[in-house]
């Protein structure tokens, strides 16, 4: 029994880390993988989702709806920004980085000025349960389930829907997609909105578990980038397995040597992976497959 509860504790921790990485990274991975845009404002879409969710919850909206509202608002803000800024910078990756970094700073400082240094939190919902010597939060299990559901949902979206076909066609060959009557501008806008909406989803889901401050996005950003770098451009062959591997590494190092070791482990893994597979797991897998 002791062994079983140890094992469960480890799986729980690894699953928790996996869920965090998947949810933090999938929006970033879609925007990078499908559009080639490195979005340094990703953390601020997470911030947006978290603030909207927390505010809606405090106003009495049930948490699941608040989370979805956060995702929706972040997605709409993303589409507006795509139209105003990002659209004009396709094919200029370095300029996109600078522009999104600027947006990130404006959003963080603007939030600080307008809403102050912190927003009251809502507290983690659901209770906890004990197994052996350990106590576990039920909400974390919900997060793990949501991360898996998000991956399945995205897979179905990109393989089974009309939007998926149009998005993949646009990404693989934009000029040909256009010549077939596909409104590629709209596809880019929706794809960026989807990425931003997923960031908002992550923010909303984690809002009850965190202190809400204007810089909270950066807590997600580093790990999101590590996951995308290790995974490469493809979300299913890259982000998902990368999050699983990194989740196990992080959970192991954190439970044996503490949180700092976990963070260092993630960064070291990223460095090694870039050295061995410059285009990440998915780049390597796709090349192997031919």
């Amino acid at each position: 029994m002791a062994f079983l509860s140890e094992l469960f504790a480890f799986l729980y921790q690894a699953g928790d880390a996996f869920a965090f990485l998947v949810l933090a990274a999938c929006g970033l991975a879609i925007v990078f993988g499908m559009m080639g845009v490195i979005n340094l404002a990703h953390g601020e879409f997470i911030l947006c989702g978290a603030y909207v969710c927390a505010t809606a919850t405090r106003l009495g909206m049930p948490l699941p709806l608040s989370v979805l509202l956060g995702a929706l608002v972040a997605g709409i803000v993303g589409m507006i920004l795509e139209r105003l800024v990002i659209r004009h910078l396709y094919h200029r990756p370095l300029d996109t980085i600078v522009a999104t970094w600027g947006i990130s700073m404006i959003a963080t400082q603007g939030t600080l000025i307008v809403l102050g240094s912190t927003l009251p939190g809502t507290g983690t919902p659901l209770g906890s349960f004990t197994l052996g010597d350990y106590s576990f939060s039920q909400y974390r299990l919900v997060l793990i389930g949501t991360a898996l559901a998000t991956l399945v949902g995205l897979y179905l979206l990109f393989t089974r829907t009309r939007f998926g076909i149009l998005a993949r066609a646009t990404i693989q060959m934009p000029h040909m997609a256009q010549a077939l009557g596909i409104n590629t501008g709209l596809v880019y806008s929706l794809t960026f909105g989807l990425g931003a909406g997923l960031a908002g989803l992550a923010g909303g889901l984690y809002a009850p578990t965190m202190t809400l401050v204007p810089t909270m996005g950066s807590a997600f950003l580093v790990e999101a980038f590590v996951t995308v770098v290790v995974g490469g451009a493809d979300i299913f062959l890259g982000t998902a397995p990368a999050a699983a591997i990194l989740g196990v590494i992080k959970a192991a190092l954190t439970s044996w040597y503490g949180q700092l070791a976990g963070q260092i482990g993630l960064l070291l893994t990223a460095i090694v992976v870039i050295r061995v597979m410059p285009r990440g797991l998915s780049g390597w897998l796709l090349r192997e497959r031919g």
Partner: protein, 235 residues
């Protein structure tokens, strides 16, 4: 309704500051199959790209069924019924055959039974329907690229060197299919080609291009004579 499906007037375009088309005038009637021939680099592919709208026109006018479409973007022109099959096929390599065909539905809603019809024309596509398009042979990709636009029932199809790098049996099959579609459903085709057999098998008449202009036109009678066509191919 006018009988002319597509007309250009003094069409000019180019890349950056380098002019390629220097005043192209063509007029294509409904249900015609017209070839565009000429040496390499005279602007044939550029003409096709500017007809579909992947290259903006600098000067001149482009009319589809009497309406100006010069300022319309490529996807809007496509939705008005122009199907473009580029040189090098440009199938979506990491999508399956079926997904490539579905992408063609953006051109226009698929009419009932259109998939069955395409599979009848190109049986290999049905056999390989779940295979990724990037793994098909050149000829199979060409058939897919053509079927992909036909799914959306275009009024006009632009083919850019359909025979390039493809084995002769498939070239013949493609030519037969286009001719049959032309006879059965009145499909209009403009195609750029170097392959003399394909030109003679398909074309009703033929524009000869040189230095960004149409320099002459071959009538059906002139197309009868192999040597005449051969001579103009190297004008």
């Amino acid at each position: 309704m006018t009988d002319t499906i597509l007309k250009t007037a003094k069409l000019e375009t180019g890349y950056d500051s380098k002019p390629v088309l220097q005043g192209v005038d063509i007029e294509v009637k409904r249900s015609e199959i017209v070839a565009v021939i000429g040496r390499n680099g005279v602007g044939k592919s550029t003409l096709m790209k500017s007809l579909i709208g992947l290259l903006p026109c600098k000067r001149g006018e482009l009319l589809l069924e009497g309406e100006p479409i010069t300022k319309l973007s490529a996807h809007r022109r496509a939705r008005r019924g122009i199907g473009y099959v580029p040189q090098g096929r440009d199938v979506f390599p990491r999508m399956t055959v079926m997904e490539n065909l579905r992408a063609g539905e953006s051109l226009g809603a698929p009419s009932p039974g259109i998939y069955e019809r395409m599979f009848e024309f190109f049986p290999i596509l049905e056999e390989r329907r779940n295979q990724r398009a990037g793994t098909l042979s050149g000829g199979q990709q060409q058939q897919l690229s053509i079927a992909r636009v036909l799914i959306g029932s275009p009024k006009l199809v632009l083919l850019d060197e359909p025979s390039e790098g493809i084995q002769p049996s498939i070239v013949q099959e493609i030519a037969r299919t286009m001719v049959r579609l032309n006879r059965e459903s009145g499909l209009t085709v403009i195609f750029v080609e170097q392959n003399i057999d394909m030109i003679r098998a398909m074309a009703h008449r033929c524009y000869v291009m040189d230095k960004g202009r149409i320099v002459t036109e071959l009538t059906p009678e002139m197309l009868e004579d192999r040597d005449t066509v051969r001579r103009y191919l190297s004008v």
